[in-house]
Symmetry: D2
Subunit: 337 residues, 4 copies
């Protein structure tokens, strides 16, 4: 790492930084420029915390040379990771289409939806049983009852199911029903929850936090992986910006960037990413064109009666048309449907 000293610091202060670094095994080069002294330290970044160095007298800034994540990095593993969920694979040469309503609300309706989605070409079924809602007065999900409905839908359609986990103590419960567990945007830095799902032997769908940097997102994946669970799928779902004409700003550049930095698969959620039904189809195509391994799309039989996120939900018919469009498009990106 590189340490830039403040202007006019005495040699003594620079020596203290050097001593500190040498004491934890770094090899040091000191460069005295006209206006600044710069210290380069070669060694294992994990041996010292950057902000500890910043706290030393006379230090202006510390610039890390290496990335803080290891297991999640492309340097650690060159080839793409392919993750099996039920009888489908994410990250390989097939496009993954996850679809379903934001929340499981009613058994009959959910199962009917599942059959329609299967027919339309979805290969993973989504639905929320435990819903994190910004108001305590909003519908919070059916809980285990919702999980049972999802399991029933899987039995009838053969589609694997993904659902959100919000409480660390529910990991075994949700894990006993779901084929894949989702960590929502608001929990991306709920480290307790990340560690807990890291102990599970199930794929984890890790949504990007509302204001998470690419690096923080990969560090959240690292949390899960450092507990032994390497089956992490990333999901770009829009970030918070000053723009209010969309619910979030879908950051599609994250797709090729993640592909460069990491070996993990990445999918795109244009429903939360835009918050507007009209934008779901164009941004689905854009996501695929940017190189995503799949999509997660909200579909509701009757969006106007959805208990949450109706305005961004497609009807099953709209989803079916979109899949047809994607089928032609995906060939260009070495993906098939």
């Amino acid at each position: 790492m590189i340490i830039v000293m403040e202007r006019g610091v005495c040699e003594d202060e620079a020596n203290k930084v050097v001593a500190e670094l040498e004491s934890v095994g770094f090899t040091i080069h000191v460069m005295n420029g006209v206006a600044r002294t710069v210290i380069a330290a070669i060694g294992d970044r994990k041996n010292i915390e950057l902000r500890r160095l910043e706290a030393l007298g006379g230090v202006e800034k510390v610039v890390p040379v290496l990335k803080p994540y290891k297991l999640a990095s492309r340097e650690f593993k060159q080839e793409n990771t392919i993750i099996k969920v039920g009888n489908t694979e994410i990250g390989g040469d097939k496009l993954t289409l996850m679809a379903g309503p934001c929340a499981v609300e009613d058994k009959e309706q959910f199962i009917e939806t599942a059959h329609l989605l299967k027919k339309a070409g979805a290969n993973v079924l989504r639905g929320g049983a435990f819903k994190p809602r910004s108001s305590p007065y909003s519908f919070q999900g059916l809980g285990e009852e919702g999980l049972k409905i999802m399991a029933e839908a899987r039995e009838q359609t053969g589609l694997p199911i993904v659902t959100e986990i919000v409480d660390p103590k529910d990991v075994d419960l949700v894990g006993s029903y779901a084929d894949m567990l989702q960590i929502g945007a608001r929990n991306m830095q709920n480290f307790i929850l990340l560690k807990e799902v890291g102990k599970l032997h199930k794929p984890i769908l890790l949504k990007r936090g509302l204001s998470a940097t690419i690096e923080e997102w990969l560090m959240a994946a690292e949390y899960i992986m450092s507990e032994g669970n390497f089956e992490v799928i990333l999901c770009e779902r829009g970030i918070r910006t000053y723009e209010t004409s969309t619910r979030n700003t879908l950051d599609l550049s994250a797709v090729p960037l993640i592909k460069k930095l990491s070996h993990l698969p990445i999918i795109v959620d244009p429903s939360h990413g835009t918050g507007k039904r009209d934008l779901v189809a164009p941004m689905s195509k854009a996501g695929i064109a940017a190189g995503a391994d799949g999509l997660m799309i909200e579909v509701h039989i009757n969006p106007a009666h959805a208990l949450s996120d109706g305005p961004q939900s497609l009807t099953p018919e709209q989803f079916q048309s979109l899949v047809k469009e994607l089928a032609g498009l995906s060939g260009f990106f070495n993906k098939r449907i």
Copy 2:
């Protein structure tokens, strides 16, 4: 609430919206303008979710008239809430000064710090036993051992203690040691944790999320309050913006705004808010001048050896000088130290 219909929608679609609203008890006024039909609905906002209305055919936008929070609002309770923590009161005519290291690292050092802080004028002692860290490889706190050290420091100094809670299952454990529990920025929308501390009979210090709006922050307070715990103190600690020369952007306008919208006390954390030691003193004064009920300041005996957040920590001597400056200043704001 106000519903603006899209341009050129047929009467039939407007009628559906009206019927939907009337079915849940709203009184309706329809206004047909030249370019748009606008529907005004008078009634209880809790009866229907806004986004459900937005999902109805022909609806362009839905504008709520009332705020979504009730218990936390100034409309619900006109007078300021004053909260007792140990033998001090937050929100009244005395400035609350919470100080201490980011993490409890060492018993002897912590207790020495506590005595110095007491002497300098602090009235609440802070310290982290469970630390949420962005890297799984960083120091994660001493856990219960840390809580014991804090309790010992309280015994010796008489200062009440505040510490962060990160795992819902630890609420009773942490509650058995601490006088006040802190919900950190990353957990502001960890609704499971909010509900859990809502069942406790202890004051809760609720930090603003990294990219939380004022409304979302008050909704997080509402989560705690809706479970029966009304002792919530808000803490502004900086928001995430494009600016990188400070760690966060301390949003001091939040102080007078919260005072207008809510009856809850609000304090300011200039240490996390700026991330830079040099800025802590001026932003402490600015926070008081903006009307804050107190400050939370990181103090470490040896910032250069702090296991976390050294660069933003004051030394006990620097803290003491700051308290002296604040003592004079606070008189102007009807607060005493």
Copy 3:
């Protein structure tokens, strides 16, 4: 428009608002809810400024029902606007590919580049003669000499040329050379410049400001159009967010959103939008998939010797490969190359 009065305002204050609105020709409906009085005003928004109403005693907020732009809106003109630049058309069924170096640096090099770009499939040639640079010590462009070089390149290749205008007094000069004038992101709200190019009979490429909302961007187009020049092409080039791993955050959702709100053509600039050469190709494809009418791409014969923006420039060979990929892709989006 809708005016929400503060809680508990007296009838007198509401009456003043009503009188104010009636005096400028609005028709008024007053609704007295349990907690708030709401006033709906039907009439021409241009008759009064919203913030003037907000300043009236007792007003909590003013919600406009109609958009502030007219000429730029899809409501004003239903069919897509197609703009002719040289012998190419923007906004029709052909994909527009604008390419060239950030700055014109050297005559021979620029003309060689122009021939290579023409061969590769570009249909508009870009290049900067007047460069807005964040440092006064950086290369500021060749000025009129640069324009002459561009004109020479046009003569040799037949490609129309687009270049940035930064000084209102240069509008005639630049207009006498260029086929299309570009307003850069930093000047999107330079209203003097917008009015000046509004008087010209040349197409204007209007880049989105670094932190401009969709509405502000369309209002900037409205400035140009209100002076009589209807030939405005919008260009999404990334917005400023907290994310630092890309130079800007390319907001591709803006493409389908603009298509819905406006009749104007829109293109995407993935070079500035990402700031990274590796991301240009995937984000070009994503831009097309999102529905853009064209792309603006930086190409430099020797990126490592470019006087500005080398890291985001493609070589002519890389550009040629990209065009080949786009040729297949664009068929899916009813565009040809």
Copy 4:
């Protein structure tokens, strides 16, 4: 500066970077770490553009060691700059209070306001004659007529006047009336305008751009100074963030940070910074407490009839009360009124 090479680059690529740097006079140190090669270059940053280095093959990132601004930096000039405007000084031991309406609308009203402000304690009179408005249909200011009214007010009250300049060709005109020229937020990177006012011998009030970093802001000051005009006063007026409950987010940390990085005076504009009348007084005090040299406050005799920015304007009576409060407070910050 420090150049970090990509993982696994061949020696040849590193050698090219070294050669490039040596050719423009840098002294080089190469460090070969386990995972990366790092090149340190000592010399004058102005000799090469950073982004040109980033464009070289194999370069992962370039980290500058020195700041890009010189004349504006505290390193260039240690002592605070004090600027004389009329018979008052900005940046010294007296608090500067600039006040007045957003726009000059009416002669009689403006002159009456000027007398009231003088009496209340203002020492600079502000008013807009050329108004940059986001809509072409909004009131654009009285132009030269407005300047004449301001000059008349100065004659009657003795207060110096400050007004915004938006068109480079008006620099002489505005300069012939005003004591200080204001560059508005939207024009902070209008480099043509910056250079033009840099040639003037008048103080320039440089507002921070809506999404300008501290570094970009100081670079804008550098533009003015590099033309020979060293009389630049910075004005923090809020930045654009995701928060919508205030018009902008007033970044008061910028005050002590600018004081550290630069010798230039800095004032705060709480009117634009918050957009809400209720927040102007608390944020004025907070600005002073953060160390600002003065304030710029919008005052209008009849805010409800202001042609722009009424909701954030104080009445002259409210301004007078605020000045009284500030008089006591400012003593603590070694400033007098």
